[in-house]
Symmetry: C2
Amino acid sequence: MTTFASAQDPLPSWNDGKVKESIVAFVENVTKVGSADFVPANERIATFDNDGTLWAEQPMYFQAFFIFDRIKTLAPQHPEWKTKEPFSSVLNGDLKTALAGGEHALLEMAMATHAGMTTEEFEAIVTDWLATATHPTTKRPYTEMVYQPMLELLAYLRANDFKTFIVSGGGIEFMRPWSERVYGIPPEQVIGSSIKTKFELRDGKPVLVRLPELNFIDDKEDKPVGINQHIGRRPIAAFGNSDGDLQMLQWTAAGSGPRFCLYVHHTDAEREWAYDRESKIGRLDKGLAEAATKGWTVVDMKRDWTPIFPNENE
Amino acid sequence: MTTFASAQDPLPSWNDGKVKESIVAFVENVTKVGSADFVPANERIATFDNDGTLWAEQPMYFQAFFIFDRIKTLAPQHPEWKTKEPFSSVLNGDLKTALAGGEHALLEMAMATHAGMTTEEFEAIVTDWLATATHPTTKRPYTEMVYQPMLELLAYLRANDFKTFIVSGGGIEFMRPWSERVYGIPPEQVIGSSIKTKFELRDGKPVLVRLPELNFIDDKEDKPVGINQHIGRRPIAAFGNSDGDLQMLQWTAAGSGPRFCLYVHHTDAEREWAYDRESKIGRLDKGLAEAATKGWTVVDMKRDWTPIFPNENE
């Protein structure tokens, strides 16, 4: 497959081998007019998890860092947080204790920091934060902690008339302010977790106010629910990295005609992180077993990707 | 404006006049590179109500006829319906009594007929019904009760790189099986009311089961909520016909830069129906007043449209 190394290679950051071959073979198969597996352009739906699939997710979800920074910023308006967990631990810099309460603690902190403002105000808060925040170990902006090979894959699929969607457990309004700039995925193709909003007229001007009330958690069994709610048809290709993506891949695989499911396996402790079955974040256990059984494509980051991040060698 | 009558006219079913002029002026204004009001293609979002805006809604919402037909079809499996309102009245052909319970009765009937099957099964039920069902007075298939001028408007906007969305109080899964074929609007650009669904593995095969539990009513104050949830950015143009669309138009109009809001006013009792302030279905009262105050475009169907329906004169 030396053609991959040509100037025409749409996936230059993917090393030659069976993984890259499986991607190109699928795309060529469904786009070739007259092929038995031809799929019309309007049905070429591809869904991508975000955390751990399009950008990194260690040492914890990047949105958690956003939440911690918001707690620090808002602390002067919340004197009660000084003595109230999990907030007090965040303010004392003890993130381990802050997160000891698990999902519940994280949700409580998310509600306290993501609600109470209008949708436009929240968008500005996210945009401002991303402009200056940096990753704790790499010191790079979070939007540069995206995977270069996946950026190429998104562009390659779109060049072949696929419509690319994000389907993430992360906050839908946390991703939309930058998904188009960074991934080329417009806000209307971002699906994520959400809180409820309420329409109000303020001095005659309509606003949507963000409420501290859960609307939807876009994870596990609810990823296909979110896909059906937003897209209304089944993807023909799905990309994930954890057990939280397994039902999305199952739902995608179960359609008729050609299907492509891919897991990103984090295997490069040197350039990124190495984790799977035992990880608290992005656990990949059942998914790895099912991928082997069903013949899904599994990316070995260490073997298949070079580089991992944009401008990695600068 | 004689140019409208040329072979190049993208809106041949719109009579010349200020309404047609306002549409064309807006589109030319936002698409002209270098214009102060130029809007990039990715921000050209246009939202359309469905009932009464893209297709007719008299003598009652077409989805209500679907519900009644489903009740008749399912009656053998529900012997209790013979003596239970509102079902018994439907089975006796007394729709007026069946609907005397208002929204609550309609919702109860919707739940009884729209839940309990998989999403794929429901799609097949809708598709099969539309293939044979006809409107009670015109005897035409419901998908031919769409407005020819609006079909041209949708195509005209898309030819100018607008992305067209439906934002309807009707059922999202009731519209998606035919919106692409009839309107050129793909399922992922349909927003509507919905019930909850649940992911299940049946004999190892994943399905989404429709539950008799409300998820979202996409009407009035919740139309901007639905728009934000699905699209994540504000439309620059919005089209409706009733007070149920008012908040969508307000939300659209309140953005910065050029905005276009249009109400379809049902004024043609001969070719369609004439109704506004006093109508139970599609009431247009507050919206008509606000349109006058804010200078929104108001279509007078009798004056501005010829024909109203496709193949009207055949």
